[in-house]
Symmetry: C2
Subunit: 168 residues, 2 copies
């Protein structure tokens, strides 16, 4: 299930990449500088768009690192353009490509901690469901919502992507 969830996170990161492409095209059609998107936010004390995208990426890579006991990639946070954000997504997808189902053996009972938790830890199963997954979707959806709020033409299909449907 962890590996299946990883595949779904990768899919959603691909969708996110597509939203950035649509946003760039929208900026071009409206003749505004797409760098404007980077600092857009829904509330003054929420992360701006660029950081929502970064945090979506980092939540995925940190979750997979924590659940498998591997080091998480350390990326700087210097992205200044949509293209640089897309490069971050690509970099994280490349990192995530390095994992297979076997890497997640024992993930449910692995102890996961963060510096801010001051020595406390969560079990992998709890960490994934209570922390990683809700945070991933939180920042992903805020990135989407910021674009929609600012007129970028996206819809639910751009969010969900292709579904694995079968014909009877």
């Amino acid at each position: 299930m962890y590996f299946q969830s990883l595949l779904q996170m990768k899919k959603m990161l691909g969708q996110l990449d597509g939203w950035l492409a649509v946003a760039a095209t929208h900026a071009e059609s409206k003749t505004f500088d797409p760098v404007v998107y980077m600092e857009l936010r829904l509330a003054p004390d929420q992360f701006p768009f660029a950081r929502q995208v970064r945090t979506t990426c980092d939540t995925a890579s940190k979750a997979v690192a924590a659940l498998t006991g591997k080091p998480a990639p350390i990326l700087d946070e210097a992205e200044a353009t949509l293209d640089e954000l897309r490069a971050r997504i690509k970099s994280v997808l490349s990192y995530l490509d390095g994992f297979s189902a076997e890497h997640f053996e024992g993930a449910a009972t692995r102890q996961v901690t963060q510096p801010r938790w001051k020595g406390e830890y969560m079990l992998g199963a709890d960490y994934f469901l209570e922390h990683a997954l809700p945070n991933f979707f939180f920042h992903l959806t805020h990135a989407y919502a910021i674009l929609r709020h600012n007129g970028v033409p996206l819809g639910k299909r751009d969010y969900l992507g292709t579904l694995s449907k079968h014909t009877p």
Copy 2:
């Protein structure tokens, strides 16, 4: 894992209920009618707040119904106040309380369909990860984002709730 995810959905619905309480208090402190929240939206072609809350509830109950082969509750959509939305959350939580881990046996391979899919179906495992979970968090986070965008004092702790941390 499906049952564990159900427990997490229940937790998040409880958080959502708390946001509505904070929103009501905020309206009172600012002396505006809390019914105003019901029609707030981030984009003219997105669901308003009330429908984001309803859809969050219904995505959870429909997912559990589909994965277990049980009928989903049919609730009308007549909620006109925050208190009525909170009653819907309570009703859905009560429905979800009726499920235990055993109900999800065979869920991964169960065929799930919707009227709009015109006879096509998804396997339970795909349906849950590709459709139900992303949609649940999509509408849940939009409900949160609409409130934050309109000044309701919420933070990440209100979103995540209490985490199952352990002391070494």
